[in-house]
C-alpha cells in the first residue's frame, strides 16, 4: 500500500510540473504589464522599471520561470499585490473552511446517494425508481446558486433554523456546524444526485451477475445478498466517480461560498480575479491542482480498499 501510494505521488510530479508551466505561461500571456497595473496610469517610467526589477520581470522568461519554480519548491508563492500578504498565509487561512465544506457535502452526497441509488435499482421501473430518477435529474440540473438561495429563503429567512451568513471569528463548534448545514446541502445535493445515478446503474449491473445467483442458491436471505454481495461490488465504480467528482466539488464550492458568503478558497480566487491579483491567482491555481491530485490519490487508495483485485496488481 505504501509503495503504491509513493508510486502514485511520483506520477503526480510531472503533472504538477506541467500545471506550473501552464499557470506561469498563462499569467505571462495575459496582456498588460503587472508593474504598470500595480502602480497605475500616473507612474513614472522609472518607478515602473524599478518595480519590474523588484518583481524580477526584467529577467528573461525562462529565468523568471526558474525563479517561480525555485519559489514554489521553497513553498513561496509570492505575495498579494493588493494586500501584501503572502499567498501561502492567505490560502492557509481559508483552506480549512473550504475543506470542511467539501467533506461535509461529500458526506451528504454519499449518505443520500448510495441508499437512494440502491433502493432505486431494486425497485427498477416501479414508482420509487421513477421518483428517485426524476429527483436526481432535478438535483443535477439545479444550479447551486438557485438551490442555495432557495434554501436560504426557506430555512434561514422564513424558518430561521440556520444563520443567513456564516458567523466569523471564534464561534462554538455547534454554531459552526449549524452554519455549515445549508451550504453543505446545497453542494451535497448535486453530489447526491450524481452518486444516486451511478449507484443505481452499477447496482443494476451487479444484481444480474452470476455470483448473486450463487449467493441466493446457498440460501442467503435477499437483504443480506444485497448488502454483503451486491452493494460491496456496486460501490467500486461509485468510488471512482466520487473521486473524479471531488475536483469538480472543490471547484463548485466557489459558487456556494459566494451565495452563503462563507470564507474559502472560492471567495479568495474570485476576489483575486476581480482585482487582477496575479500572484494570488497563480498560487491558488497551483493549490487547486494539488488538491485535485491529492483527491485522486485518496481515490486510488480507497479503490484498493474496496477492490481486492487492485491490491495485488
Amino acid at each position: 500500500m505504501a509503495r503504491y501510494a509513493l508510486l502514485k505521488l511520483l506520477y503526480a510530479v510531472p503533472t504538477l510540473f506541467a500545471v506550473l508551466l501552464l499557470v506561469f505561461v498563462l499569467t505571462r500571456v495575459i496582456p498588460g504589464d503587472p508593474a504598470q497595473l500595480i502602480l497605475g496610469d500616473q507612474a513614472t517610467p522609472e518607478a515602473i522599471a524599478a518595480l519590474r526589477t523588484q518583481l524580477g520581470l526584467d529577467k528573461s522568461i525562462p529565468l523568471q520561470f526558474l525563479d517561480f519554480l525555485v519559489g514554489v519548491l521553497h513553498g513561496d508563492f509570492g505575495s498579494s499585490i493588493v494586500t501584501g500578504q503572502s499567498v501561502v498565509s492567505l490560502a492557509a487561512a481559508v483552506l480549512p473552511s473550504t475543506l470542511e465544506l467539501t467533506v461535509a457535502s461529500l458526506v451528504v452526497g454519499v449518505v443520500f446517494g448510495v441508499p437512494l441509488g440502491a433502493w432505486s435499482a431494486m425497485r427498477r421501473n416501479r414508482l420509487p425508481d421513477i421518483a428517485v430518477r426524476i429527483g436526481s435529474l432535478i438535483g443535477l440540473s439545479l444550479p447551486a446558486f438557485v438551490f442555495g438561495i432557495l434554501l436560504l429563503v426557506v430555512f434561514a429567512v422564513q424558518l430561521g433554523w440556520f444563520p443567513v451568513i456564516a458567523p466569523s471569528g471564534d464561534v462554538s463548534v455547534f454554531e459552526d456546524l449549524r452554519a455549515l448545514v445549508l451550504p453543505a446541502v446545497t453542494l451535497g445535493i448535486l453530489m447526491a444526485a450524481y452518486i444516486t445515478r451511478v449507484t443505481r446503474s452499477s447496482m443494476l449491473q451487479v444484481l444480474g451477475e452470476d455470483f448473486i445467483r450463487t449467493a441466493r442458491a446457498k440460501g442467503v436471505p435477499w437483504w443480506r445478498v444485497v448488502r454483503r454481495h451486491a452493494l460491496r461490488n456496486a460501490i467500486i465504480p461509485v468510488v471512482t466517480v466520487v473521486g473524479l467528482y471531488l475536483g469538480v466539488l472543490i471547484g463548485n464550492s466557489v459558487l456556494t461560498e459566494m451565495v452563503f458568503n462563507r470564507p474559502g478558497l472560492g471567495k479568495l480566487i474570485v476576489g483575486a480575479l476581480a482585482q487582477r491579483d496575479y500572484p494570488v491567482l497563480q498560487g491558488l491555481m497551483v493549490l487547486y491542482t494539488l488538491l485535485i491530485i491529492l483527491a485522486n490519490l485518496i481515490t486510488d487508495l480507497a479503490y484498493g480498499v474496496f477492490n481486492p483485485r487492485v491490491r495485488f496488481a
Binding site: 445467483r213 450463487t214 436471505p221 435477499w222 481486492p308
Partner: protein, 333 residues
Amino acid sequence: MTDAPVLAVRGLSTQFRIGGAWRAATRNIAFDLYENQTIALVGESGCGKSITCQTILGLLPAAVARTEGSIVYQGRELVGLSDAEMETVRGKEIAMIFQEPMTALNPVMTVGEQIAEAIRVHRRCTKAEAKAEAIAFMDRVRIPAAAQRYNDYPHQFSGGMRQRIVIAMAMACKPKVLLADEPTTALDVTIQAQILAELRDLCANFNMSMVFITHSLGVVAAIADRVAVMYAGEIVELASVEELFAAPQHPYTRALFQAIPRVDETAENLQAIPGQVPPITAFPEGCRFAPRCPMRMEKCAGRPPRLAAADPASPHAVACFLHHDLALEEAAE
C-alpha cells in the same frame, strides 16, 4: 435405497412473461430422483435444463417467471413456498453449482468467507466454527493448503480450483440434493475428469443425489444413473443410462448420439442435427421436434406425444408416436 424419491417432480412448467403474455418455457417436466442416484438432464442449449433446475430452487424472479406443477422434496411441496421458506431449503437441503466458475464467485469476498457464509446462514455457530468447517471442506475438495488459502480472493485461483470452491460451498451444509448446472463445461478436459470424479466421490460419501445438467453424452456415461433427454422445454426420453446407450428410442436422442465426433470416422461424416431449437415464442403445435425430425409422420404435427413407456414393463419412457400412440391431453392451449 428407500422407496420414496428424495425429489419428485410432476407436471412442472416454468412460464415467462414475454411481451405481456405468459409463455411456457418448459412443459410437463416429470422425474423422480432417488437417494444416491444421479439423473442427467441432456439436450442442446435452450432446452430448459437450467430453467428446470433454477425453478426447483425457486431462483427465478417472481416478476417475470411463474411455476406450475409440483416439486416434492422429502414429502414437502416446494411450489408455492414463500421466499423466506425457500431460503431454508436453498443450500441446506438442495444446493446448486454453476457452469461458470469464473463468475459464480463474489470477486470482493474471500473464498473462505463465501463458504463460511453458507454454513452460517443455516446454522447457529460462531465465526471460528464456521471458518474451521469451511477449511475442512476446502480440504475435502482437495484445495492445497486450504487453511492458508481461506483468505484468498477468487481471482487468485484457477478455473478448476474455483469450481472446487463452488463445490465446497454447495457441500457446506451437506445437502441431500445437488443440482449441477454444467459444472464441467467451462473447464478443460483433464480438470473436467477430476471434477467429475470429485462429484461422484462426494455423492457416495454424503449420501447425496444429483441432478446433473450437461449437453455431453460422454459426461452422462461417466456420472449418471438415469438420463432425461430434453428438447424444447420437454422431456422426450427418460431411461437408465444402460438402456439409453443400448437402445436410444427418440429420434432426437439418436441424432444426439450421431452428432458425437468419432476418431474412427472422418469429420465430413459428422451428423449435425439440421436446424435449431425453436425459440420459446415459436414452439410448434404437436411434437416439438417434428420440424427437424428425419422420421416425422403426418400425425406428429397434430397433438404432442406423451412421455410413456413403449413397453409397459419397462421404465424406459419416450415421447414419440413411432413407439406408442399416447398423446398429451392438454395439447391444444
